[in-house]
C-alpha cells in the first residue's frame, strides 16, 4: 500500500487476523451493519452507527 495515495484512516485500519476474517464473512451484507468490529453471534454488536438519510 502506498501511504501517499491513501486516506489516513486506511493507513490506521487494522488488518484482520484469519480468525477474524472467518468470523466476519457474511456480515458485510447485513442491513444494520456498521462493520467497525466483528460479531460472531447475531451481529448484535454491529451497527452502532447508522448512515444516510434514514437511520
Amino acid at each position: 500500500m502506498d501511504p501517499n495515495n491513501r486516506v489516513l484512516s486506511r493507513m490506521g485500519a487494522r488488518e484482520l487476523t484469519e480468525q477474524e476474517v472467518d468470523a466476519v464473512q457474511g456480515a458485510f451484507v447485513r442491513h444494520t451493519l456498521t462493520p467497525c468490529f466483528i460479531d460472531k453471534k447475531q451481529q448484535l454488536l454491529n451497527g452502532d452507527q447508522s448512515i444516510g438519510e434514514c437511520g
Binding site: 490506521g12 460479531d39 451497527g47 452507527q49 434514514c54
Partner: protein
C-alpha cells in the same frame, strides 16, 4: 397503543424485541421504510382530521414510534431513466415529511427525528456533552494540514485518530480485510499535507483510560456497564466481537448521571447508547453517543443485564410513569429465550442480505 417500529422485521434488535412484546400481549407492527411496494407505500392526508398510513398501518394517538433503522427510500425501479433522479429525491423528501410529521402527532417517538438527525453529528455531541458538565477530550475535526499539525504540537499530549464513519476495505479476489479503528498517531507519523486533505478526520486527545463504559439511556433510566478486556485495547469492539470482553453493571457517578440527563433533556434524545472512557483517577470521559446504538449484545455478555426486558418495559411504560423499569421487566421474556428459539429455528432468522453496503470498499 401499539409500537410502530421503523425497521425491517428481521433487523437484529427489532426481531427479538417484537417477539418479546408480543409474548407479553403488546401490539407491534413494523414498517421498513418508504418504498414503491405495497408494504412500503405511505399516505399522509391532511384534511382537518389528519391521518398517516405506513404500509397497512395507521398511526394513532398514543402510539409509540421507534425509529430504529428504516431503509433508504426505494423508488420504483421501472421509473424512466430520465426520471430516476427526480423520483429518488421525491421519495427522500416524502420520507422526511413523514419522519418530521411524527413530531406533530400525539405519539411518542424514540427518538424524535429532528433530535436524532442533530445528535448523530459527533461535533454537536461533544460540545453539548461538555456544556452539560461531562468531561470531554480535546478534539479537532479537520482537513486542514496546518491545523492538524498544530494540534499535534500540544505539549505532552498523546493523540488518537478516527473517522467520522466506519469502513471496511476488502482486497479484490482475496479474503484480506482491513477495518477502520481508532489508532494512536504521533506528529512524526503524520503523512504529507496532501494526504491530510484526502479525507477529513477526527483527531482527539488520547484519554488515559483504564477501561470503557457502555451506558444505555432509556428515558430517565441509566444503565452503565464496565467493559474490560485483558489487552486494554484502544478500541474494545474488536475484542468484544470475539467474546474477550466482560460487561459488568457499575454505578454511574452522580455528576455523570446528572450530566447525561441534562444532555438528554437539551438534545431531545430519550434513548441511546453512550461510550465513556474511565481513567486511573476514576474520571468518566464522554466519547460519543449513538442514538440508535446497539444494546442487546450486553445481554449476551451479562445475562443479568436484561436490557431486552428493560427496553420492553420502557416503550410500554404508562405515560408519566416514574416506576423503575425493573418493576415491569418481569412481564417480558429474555433474549436468552429468544436465542434458544432462534437456535431451534422456531423463530425467523434475522438479518437477511439487503442493499449494497455503504461501508465496504474493494481495493487492489
Amino acid at each position: 397503543m401499539k409500537l410502530i417500529v421503523l425497521a425491517p422485521e428481521d433487523d437484529n434488535h427489532t426481531a427479538p424485541i417484537k417477539w418479546a412484546l408480543e409474548k407479553a400481549g403488546q401490539k407491534v407492527v413494523c414498517w421498513a421504510g418508504l418504498s414503491w411496494t405495497d408494504e412500503g407505500q405511505s399516505s399522509l392526508l391532511m384534511d382537518g382530521d389528519d391521518t398517516l398510513i405506513l404500509g397497512g398501518h395507521s398511526v394513532d394517538p398514543g402510539d409509540v414510534i421507534w425509529i430504529r433503522r428504516p431503509e433508504v427510500p426505494v423508488p420504483n425501479p421501472k421509473v424512466s431513466e430520465s426520471d430516476k433522479k427526480f423520483a429518488s429525491l421525491e421519495y427522500r423528501c416524502f420520507y422526511h415529511s413523514i419522519a418530521y410529521f411524527f413530531e406533530t402527532l400525539p405519539v411518542w417517538c424514540i427518538n424524535n427525528y429532528s433530535a436524532a438527525r442533530v445528535m448523530i453529528q459527533k461535533a454537536v455531541q461533544i460540545r453539548l456533552a461538555r456544556q452539560c458538565g461531562l468531561k470531554t477530550p480535546a478534539t479537532l475535526m479537520s482537513n486542514n494540514p496546518a491545523a492538524v499539525r498544530k494540534f499535534f504540537s500540544r505539549d505532552n499530549a498523546r493523540t488518537i485518530c478516527k473517522g467520522f464513519t466506519p469502513h471496511v476495505w476488502q482486497k479484490e479476489g482475496k479474503m484480506s480485510v482491513a477495518i477502520t479503528e481508532t489508532f494512536e498517531l504521533t506528529s512524526d507519523q503524520l503523512p504529507s499535507d496532501e494526504v491530510l486533505t484526502y479525507a477529513p478526520a477526527i483527531y482527539q486527545e488520547r484519554v488515559p483510560k483504564e477501561y470503557d463504559i457502555r451506558m444505555v439511556l432509556m428515558g430517565n433510566h441509566i444503565y452503565s456497564y464496565a467493559l474490560k478486556n485483558k489487552k486494554q485495547a484502544l478500541d474494545w469492539r474488536q475484542d468484544a466481537g470475539l467474546g474477550h470482553v466482560t460487561a459488568e453493571l457499575v454505578p454511574t457517578p452522580p455528576d455523570v448521571e446528572k450530566g447525561v440527563l441534562e444532555f438528554a433533556r437539551r438534545s431531545g434524545v430519550c434513548f441511546g447508547s453512550l461510550d465513556f472512557g474511565v481513567d486511573a483517577q476514576g474520571t468518566w470521559w464522554f466519547l460519543e453517543i449513538n442514538e440508535e446504538g446497539q444494546f442487546l449484545w450486553i445481554d449476551q455478555f451479562n445475562r443479568e443485564a436484561r436490557l431486552l426486558e428493560k427496553f420492553c418495559a420502557f416503550v410500554t411504560a404508562p405515560q408519566g410513569s416514574n416506576l423503575p423499569l425493573e418493576a415491569r421487566q418481569d412481564l417480558f421474556p429474555s433474549l436468552q429465550e429468544y436465542e434458544e428459539l432462534l437456535k431451534n429455528e422456531q423463530v425467523a432468522p434475522i438479518g437477511r442480505p439487503r442493499q449494497e453496503d455503504p461501508f465496504l470498499s474493494m481495493e487492489a
